[in-house]
């Protein structure tokens, strides 16, 4: 139950008091956890608790279904973890940092009057590339089946992206021309 504004209590900001015996620290920690969990359960409200419990049970069911596939080697544990845990790792450690650095770089290079337009087009362009990439790659084409993936994806997508940039850049261009007069 955490959020950006930090309105709910964070369980670990208060350290358990240091005891004389070695046992009292973990015991105190357990006590804090117990207080935090019971507090959360008491204040959550019935609807949220039911939703959370139903969600947890559903996750458990999904986990069993996944386990069944992994035990049948479809894929094995390494293959599954690569494709499943790989998503958040790529997003948090690669994709987002690259986008942040690029956005900061763009912000410094582009004149203020053009900044919002260029960033808008770049964002829509990036989001559409995520969908388009497998089609643009052409990797799914098969020689025995000419009706599959039978469009010119590079041309069609190029036109679409061209239109996105055109629509984004025309207003600041018009403004710049007017200002010059």
């Amino acid at each position: 139950m955490t959020n950006d504004s930090g309105s709910s209590p964070s369980p670990d900001t208060s350290r358990p008091p240091r005891g004389r015996s070695g046992l009292s620290r973990p015991r105190a920690w357990l006590g804090t956890q117990f207080v935090d969990v019971t507090h959360a359960l008491r204040t959550a409200g019935r609807a949220r608790l039911i939703l959370a419990a139903a969600g947890a049970l559903t996750v458990l069911y999904g986990g069993l279904l996944v386990l069944e596939q992994v035990l049948h080697d479809n894929p094995g544990p390494v293959g599954f973890l690569t494709w499943w845990a790989g998503g958040p790792l790529v997003v948090d450690l690669l994709a987002v940092p690259v986008v942040v650095v690029t956005a900061i770089g763009l912000g410094r290079v582009i004149p203020a009057a053009w900044r919002r337009a260029v960033e808008s087009a770049a964002l829509v362009n990036l989001l559409l590339v995520l969908v388009a990439a497998p089609f643009l790659s052409g990797l799914g084409r098969r020689p025995d089946n000419p009706s599959l993936l039978d469009r010119d994806y590079v041309l069609g997508f190029g036109v679409l992206i061209g239109l996105v940039w055109l629509v984004a850049l025309v207003p600041p261009a018009v403004r710049a021309l007017r200002a010059r007069r």
């Binding site: 969600g55 599954f80 494709w83 964002l123 989001l127 599959l148 679409l160």
Partner: protein
């Protein structure tokens, strides 16, 4: 050792709870639609429970499944962008509550990304993942929808607060979160439009990322070719009808001499596209004595791949539109459409419209 990143390192503009709550709500709706239509598809593939009408049922539900999934891709990307700094929030691990919440978010992000990536790759037929797609995509769908329920339960107060609050913070010359929200919507709609050209005929010219142009032999696209199925020689073909200890055999001429019926039905592919055609052939029920007493009909072909056979339940068997088709759009079936004989039935995934049929087995 250098310090690990902190949330404050990320630029604050163009992200935050105001944006997360709104994109998250849209994603919650699109994932729910995607999950429910996915369940319908699963039921079609693994049971004969669903009704045989309306004929366009599967074309609609699977079109919605693929389109809602594709429309979710830009939304999920923007959502992850919006919440990314929280990955580095301190304490990194924390107490029991924090660990549980982190674990649920890990399951959510991993499963949501997994579903959209594998689903998209499957539609583009890029089988980079190297496992049999349907059961894994199905299993992780339960992980995703369960984790969404937990996430909604945890974040509901935040969502309520943020949806009732205007975007008050001032924004410099670059993109603000209000613009990012609008652009996520634009990208989502453009992605849906670009990939839906093989689902809605009027979108065909705009469908620059559609899996199909709609062309194909006899005006119908093909998913599994005769070459891929290993069905090349059909000379001396006959249809065997096995009913208990009785086996009947029909030559092509005998099939053509039986009463011919017509049905205007779609091939509705699990990959989302559909193509309607005028099919002619023999009613499946006409080949069976006392079809009302049948529990299941197994329709099979020489194709030894996973989709070389399918089962027809009593509802579909009793539907007058359920045919063993000999002709499509006025001509004998092309080899890639299952010459000499294929099953065509209403409200049914294309993968179960078995081609090159040479045997039907009646179970009572």
């Amino acid at each position: 050792m250098p310090e690990l990143p902190r949330p404050g390192w990320y630029p604050r503009q163009a992200r935050g709870a105001w944006l997360s709550a709104r994109v998250g709500t849209a994603l919650g709706l699109s994932f729910t639609l995607c999950f429910l239509t996915g369940l319908i598809s699963h039921l079609h593939q693994h049971s004969t429970l669903l009704p045989s009408q309306p004929a366009w049922g599967y074309a609609l539900s699977q079109g919605l499944h693929v389109t809602s999934g594709i429309a979710s891709i830009p939304l999920l990307a923007v959502k992850l962008w919006s919440v990314a700094p929280r990955f580095w929030k301190r304490p990194l691990i924390g107490g029991v509550l924090r660990m549980a919440e982190r674990a649920s978010v890990l399951v959510l992000v991993a499963s949501a990304v997994f579903e959209l990536v594998t689903g998209l790759l499957n539609v583009a037929e890029v089988y980079a993942f190297g496992f049999y797609f349907p059961p894994v995509h199905y299993a992780v769908a339960w992980l995703a929808i369960g984790a969404i329920a937990v996430h909604v339960a945890v974040q509901l107060p935040v969502v309520r607060r943020e949806l009732g609050r205007p975007d008050a913070e001032p924004v410099s010359s670059g993109l603000g979160r209000r613009q990012v929200l609008g652009l996520a919507g634009v990208a989502s709609l453009l992605a849906a439009m670009a990939t839906a050209g093989d689902k809605l005929p009027f979108l065909r010219p705009l469908g620059v990322l559609s899996q199909r142009s709609g062309d194909g032999p006899q005006g119908v696209p093909v998913n599994r070719s005769a070459a891929a199925a290993g069905v090349t020689a059909t000379d001396g073909w006959s249809l065997e009808v096995v009913d208990g200890d009785r086996t009947q055999s029909f030559t092509l001429a005998q099939m053509a001499a039986l009463p011919q019926r017509e049905a205007y039905l779609p091939i509705a592919c699990v990959e989302g596209w559909n193509a309607w055609a005028r099919w002619e052939g023999v009613r499946l029920a006409d080949l069976i004595d006392a079809p009302g007493a049948v529990s299941l009909v197994v329709v099979s072909s020489p194709d030894r791949g996973g989709y070389g056979r399918s089962t027809v339940g009593p509802g579909t068997l009793g539907d007058p539109q359920t045919l063993l088709a000999l002709r499509v759009n006025g001509d004998a079936l092309a080899p890639d459409h299952g010459y000499p004989l294929r099953l065509i039935a209403p409200n049914r995934p294309g993968a179960l419209q078995t081609k090159w049929v040479n045997r039907i087995e009646v179970q009572r």
